[in-house]
Symmetry: C2
Subunit: 353 residues, 2 copies
Amino acid sequence: METTVRNKQVILKHYINGFPEESDLMIVTAPDAMEVKVKPGSSTILVKNLFLSCDPYMGTFMREPDSGSSEVAVETLSLLDAFIPGKPIAGVGVSEVIDSDDPCFAKGDFVWGIVDWEEYSTVNSFGRFKIDISINVPLSYYTGILSVTGLTAYAGFFEICSPKKGEAVFVSAAAGAVGQLVGQFAKLMGCYVVGSAGSKQKVDLLLNKFGFDDAFNYKEEPDLDAALNRCLPQGIDIYFENVGGKMLDSVLMNMKVHGRIAVCGMISQYHIETQEGIKNLPVVVYKRIKMQGFLAFDFIDKFPKYLEFVLPYLKERKLVYVEDIVEGLENGPAALVGLFHGQNIGKQVLKIA
Amino acid sequence: METTVRNKQVILKHYINGFPEESDLMIVTAPDAMEVKVKPGSSTILVKNLFLSCDPYMGTFMREPDSGSSEVAVETLSLLDAFIPGKPIAGVGVSEVIDSDDPCFAKGDFVWGIVDWEEYSTVNSFGRFKIDISINVPLSYYTGILSVTGLTAYAGFFEICSPKKGEAVFVSAAAGAVGQLVGQFAKLMGCYVVGSAGSKQKVDLLLNKFGFDDAFNYKEEPDLDAALNRCLPQGIDIYFENVGGKMLDSVLMNMKVHGRIAVCGMISQYHIETQEGIKNLPVVVYKRIKMQGFLAFDFIDKFPKYLEFVLPYLKERKLVYVEDIVEGLENGPAALVGLFHGQNIGKQVLKIA
């Protein structure tokens, strides 16, 4: 191990307006070397980042804070602030402790939490989780199924939707980081589960790997309402919403009375200039639908309960988790931007060490 | 009392497409006389209807059942079906028992429940509530504050929105049957309450009779977003939704994190050809908003609890209730249609005997 390094970072060049593009980000190597140790008395931890999570919310964090969506996004997360031009972007990451002035963490520990997109970070213990390496799973899972992504699927499906055995569940972006888990959780609960995704390959995954009962490629359906009605002729009890726009409008027409919609995201709407209006919202009254937006961070107290739930299934191989791992910090911008065009298959992860 | 009568009814002439109009209904007097008594062994009750409630949902019941909104409305209510052309329309009514073959009801009792819009009805006991006349309030209140309307305000505000002292509450259609109660309940809870309505006279009522902290006439506000921001600069914790459309879009932009929206109705959207799209729905994610449609009928088991809550306030005159009473069955169509143009001030009631 070197005693000094020149840290490499992924920097936001400027606030964005439309979709995030690779050119909105740049890779910068620090001109000066940094010592690979923490200041005594600083109570900080120096970590080497191994895996970085690519998540859709990061796109909204690239917008100027007073320009609508980003502004509200910012006030919602206490662990993470909107990105600042000239500074690194940030997100969930898995890291190895290189040096520590915090008695709770020791050199050689593995941790996950929010980190800047860079090779080495000086962080504190707030919101930092120690990884139990005796659980024999890939470390990258702590950006996904064993981290905020997993908690997102768990909280949205169980806490917000209160599923019952036999209910009909529909998941959009179902082959994504969260969707694949919601679908599998729903199957474990004894639900009938249908998913939508944007390619034949993803639809195959849903049917053959994740055990969905039915699935369709939304890009090949001229009429989403008809596709939903074909797959779920009795209607939908639970919709796990990841996309928004036309899909939501069609789902509303297919919801059952007392249906529940966990609004995890509306990725189709984040970066377009004019939002597609949702026209079928009066259905919410007629059918007494509950629709609730949420962020996993609000359910962080449920994280231990989630691990108790998920780890046995993972050990017994009753759950699978598909990751799309890109290597190298310099490929981070492309990996992140690809999310907004559905290029990832499964959880998008960036491996940087 | 006559022994036979020729019953007068308000009949639906045909299914409607756009807004309900007076010409969609007609007053018909039965060609044959009916005896003013029940058949022995029928277990039925013959009632003389005194007051009929005019409610916005009745408009959606005038649409053809397989044409969208009405279809879904129908499957929601077990006590009430969509109206049928050639037959009387129906709704909540207060009646006097004239003759009874049901041991639970006696001649001279007053009851409320769903009745056809006619002078005399033969009904059964299902969903029929006996009125305790020792409670010294106008009988017409059993179409409103002491009936489904009151339960609507109570269930939507307390059960769905879980209000806390000091929270900021916004109510649309605030001078209406439900809105005036929500506003007063919110004040009793120690909330800061703002309402919108469609005339100066209604805004005056909100401020001077119902005790709202602030109010505005939405018809005189070129920018609803600005109006909300002016009245509730810190944002909205609870929105009691009665109108939909542009108001909802503006409210979404002004909601606080973890806000709650009880969707009681979207009267602006029921009878227009093309629904106004709601563009700001992604805010539901950023701000983790819960939005829930409901019908009072789902909370009918809470009715005794509601009466326990509301009666003491009513007796102590800590609650007021404004009704807009029109007399005569022949004026029913105009009274009902007027709802969709905001002509009523307070609860629209039809007095027919």
